[in-house]
Each structure stands twice: as C-alpha cells, then as structure tokens.
C-alpha cells in the first residue's frame, strides 16, 4: 500500500470518527479531562511507549468521586508500569494519586495531579527501591472531540534503598555503601498532550516531549512519548 493510500485511509477514519463523536455528544459530554466525565464512575487506561525505557507499558484504573467541600470531581487513580522491551519484573513502578481540574473556563481546563510512587529497578550495578511523588499540570483546550494541552510535571524520588551488586564492588568500588539515599533522582518533563475522543467512552491520545534528568544525563536522547488510551464506564 502506498503512502497516499495510507493517508486517504487515515483521513477517512478521522472524519467518520469525528462525525460519530459529534453525534455521540448528544448523549453526553466528550473530550473533557478525565475528572470531568460526569457520565462515568470508572476509568481504565494504558500508556505504551518511551517512558523511562524504550518500551514501557502502564495500565491503570481510576475511580471518580465528587467532593462537595471543594466542589470538584476528583479522579483517584492507581497504575502499574514496567518496561516490556526487555521484560524484567524487578523493574516496575506502582503509583497512586489524585487528579482534578484546578481551573475551568469554557473548554479551557487546568488539570492538576499529585501521585505517590514506589519504583523498583535492578541492573548490573544495583538493586533499588525508591519512594517518590509526581506533581503535574496540563493546561489546555479540552474540546468535544479533541484535546490539546501542554503538560509539565516534576517527578521526585525522595529516598531510595540501594544495594550494590557484587560486580560493581569487584570492578569499581568495594566500599560502596548500601542503604537509603535521599533525593537521588529528579526529573522534569515538559511536553504536549493531544487526544482524540473516538467514542464517548474511548479516548486515544499522545503524550510526549522533553525530559530533564540531570546535567550529565545526555547519553540517551532526553525525550518521552507514549500512546495513551482511556476507556470510561
């Protein structure tokens, strides 16, 4: 199949799905931030792509609930991620957090979220478990069919337990200290979130951009990018 045919097929899918989405909108609000999907109580989602590994899969579940005191609908979420390109269950990230819209002006929303995580990693120099948090904001346009937002977030590992491998001790530093280390890693991400509500229950999106992980972290291109899917029910 030629590139032109691929493009034609993509255009066809785009317009038919956009039309379907506009029709579905008669039944309920579409393309709003997750916490604003008033018709649903539950959410399952996945992210797959370059996210601290060349191919990471994250799957999660979210539960919506209203908080009268702050007049906000909150999304309580939890997810699990692991690198799947070279599957190793000792590398993982478990995260739980809360998300809501801080500001709402028409179709302009400012979703914010805070999560806490436990990370695990094992490689040839250490085995580690880290405790961290992530604070993020994704201001942007969340329309009926499409969403386009910027996203900015900081992921801070507050403490990590490191156990050095015997290979590291043998070949580099025999006196390396095992134990808890404070604030061993901080990463900042700045990118875009683009989403398309294919159906009122189903959202397909892309998150990607630049990530900073320390001034000497230049051996790998400083990027992230994942395909994001959501299903509400």
């Amino acid at each position: 199949m030629t590139i032109k045919r691929y493009l034609a097929l993509a255009m066809f899918c785009f317009f038919t799905q956009a039309f379907a989405a506009q029709s579905d909108d008669q039944e309920g609000k579409l393309a709003e931030p997750a916490d604003k999907k008033n018709d649903f109580a539950n959410l399952i989602y996945s992210d797959v792509g370059i996210d601290h590994s060349m191919l990471t899969l994250g799957i999660g579940y979210g539960l919506y609930f209203d908080v009268e005191a702050i007049q906000r609908r909150l999304l309580l979420f939890a997810d699990y991620a692991l690198p799947i390109a070279s599957l190793d269950i000792r590398d993982f990230r478990v995260r739980t957090g809360i998300r809501t819209s801080a500001i709402e002006i028409g179709s302009f929303y400012v979703p914010v979220w805070l999560s806490f995580s436990v990370n695990g990693a094992q490689n040839k120099i250490f085995r580690a478990t880290g405790l961290g948090s992530e604070l993020g904001i994704a201001p942007g346009y969340y329309g009926r069919v499409f969403a386009a937002a910027s996203e900015l977030y900081c992921d801070q590992t507050w403490a990590a337990y490191l156990k050095h491998s015997q290979a590291y001790r043998d070949l580099f530093y025999a006196n390396a200290k095992d134990g808890w280390y404070s604030m061993p890693s901080t990463s900042f991400r700045a990118g875009l979130y683009l989403a398309w509500n294919i159906h009122k229950r189903f959202t397909l999106g892309f998150k990607g951009g630049y990530q900073q992980m320390g001034q000497y972290n230049k051996l790998i291109p400083p990027i992230y990018g994942t395909l994001h899917t959501e299903f509400s029910f």
Binding site: H52, M54, A85, S86, N123, A159, Y173, A176, Y216, K218
Partner: protein, 331 residues
Amino acid sequence: MIHVFMPMIFLVLALINGCQDPGKSGNLVPKTVDEDPSLPALEFNNSKFHVETFGVPSKPVIIMLHGGPGNDYRYLLPLKERHNNYSLVDDYFLVFWDQRGCGLSQRHDRSELTLDKYAQDLDQLVEHFAPNNKPVVFIGHSWGGQYAAQYMDRHPKRMSGCVMMEPGPLSAELGKKLTTIKINPVAIWLNDWMWGRQLVAASDHERADYYLALGVLSQEEVKPERHSKPVPGWRMGTAVSLYLAMEALGSGSHFDFTQHLSEVEVPILFVVGGNTEDLGADFQRIQMKPFKSSALEIIPNAGHNEIAFSEAGQSVAKIRKYLDALNLRRP
C-alpha cells in the same frame, strides 16, 4: 487537614535526614585526590591528578595512557606485573595516571574538559617526569593511543618510542571508516540504563560517574564487536565521556592528529587483539600509514580490553622486544 499533613511532612523530612547523600564522594563512588589527601597525587596545569609511579626514576620513562576518554589506569596495572619472570619495571620507570576528570583525578566542568587542556596536561606531565629531553615512551590503549598521536602530532621529534594498543581513530576522517554502532532499542542494557535513572539520576559528578559504571559492566552487549569483558576501574569520568568522547571526538567532530605524524622518526608499535573487529588489525593497518616506520603485533584470542588486562603478559612480551630494539637503556 493540617493535622494529617504535618506529621507526614515531618516523617518524610526525618526519613530524608537519616539517608546518605548520593552526591557525596565515598558513598557511591570513591573520593578523588582533592578530597582524599592520602591518595598519591600530582598537581599541574591547574588540576590535581591521581598519579602512581613504579620503578627507578633514573631509568627511561614510560607514561601509560588509559582509554576512554573517561576510563582510568586501573585496568592497565597488569602491564607492570611480572610475566614470565619479567616486568617492565625492571628496566623502566612507569608512570600511571588518571587523565583530567577521570578515575580518582579532580573533577572539572565542561570548560576545563577540552582537547587543548588534555594536550597541555600531557605536555606538562612529560616535562615533569622526563625533563631535558630524557627518553620517554608512551603506551596508550584505545583512546590512550589517540592521545599519544595527538602529542606526537604536536611534538613529532620528542618521543623515544610509542606503543599504540588498538588506538581509536587518529582523525575524524579515519573514524568514518569504522562501522557505526547499531543500538538495539530493545536491548536489556539500554532499558536497564533508562529505567534505573528514575532511582539515580546523573545530577552531579558522583551520581553520573556511578551510573556510567553500568555502561562499562554492560560492555559486552554495548560493543560486541570489541569481544571484551568489563575491566576494573577506580571511577568513571562521565563528564569527560560526554564532552570529549561524544563531542570533541564524536561523529561530526573535525579532529585530526595525523598532520605531522610523518615527521615522527622513531618506529611505532601497534598491538591489536586477534578477536577485535572494529579496531582490529585491518583498521590499524590503515592507521599505520602516516608513520614512517611501524609494526603490528597481534595478540591471538584477545579482544579490545584483554590486550591490556587479562592478556597483558602477551602484550608485555611484544612491548619488551620492541623497547629492547629502541635501545633506550644505553648510558
């Protein structure tokens, strides 16, 4: 709410306060000479270097140049050991040193990590250990061979001899003859590397040097064409790897250490491992061309690191024969 959050904040602060600092030398990586005065050191060119010498200073000087840039001299130490009842220390004064920003030498920021600074360092080191045109020989492995070529290109008449053990490309142009490294995006080492950064990020020299050890320990997967096992080191020099290896000597650079090599009068010995593909015999035969006189010795069944480490005995035998022919020990 404050009643809930305040104890949590205090708990987190107490936890952090009781933790070790990953950015403090001595925890993840050893201290450098400017942090530990008990280490053997020498100060020159506005830096402090980790330097060890072996043998009698009055004998002809051999300066060891380690690879990288970013490695250190620890893996070269087998070259001073006694092999078949002979050690180079019997006849020569050996100088082992960690280059600027590497091993246990002082760390520097980007502005101090340039090829020009490196050239000045070696000029001053030679002048310190071999003043007044005293005989001096370089034994350079990998980048160390390139470093030796940089010196000879600037001082073609100064050297008494030079052993180049699988040197990297002596010019950017020669580098184009090497096959480009193909990185497998699903390789375990690459994903381990990326994932682990969530727990130790290269925010300072200490963490960056620690983390680069992961690359060294994964060497067999990162550079399979070298057929090399990981070799020991004191401590990696990540900033040097970034600014010299990847930028000043990397793809897109324009370095050329070959312009005056044809003026070098002394014969040059090239030593290669029989198993090495990219920097092996075929490539070194091309690199030998600028020199008036050179010879190639092959260490069978050895890879890139093995010629200086596990098979150092075989290399020392070849080096001894070469040095004997130079007749440096005459009164």
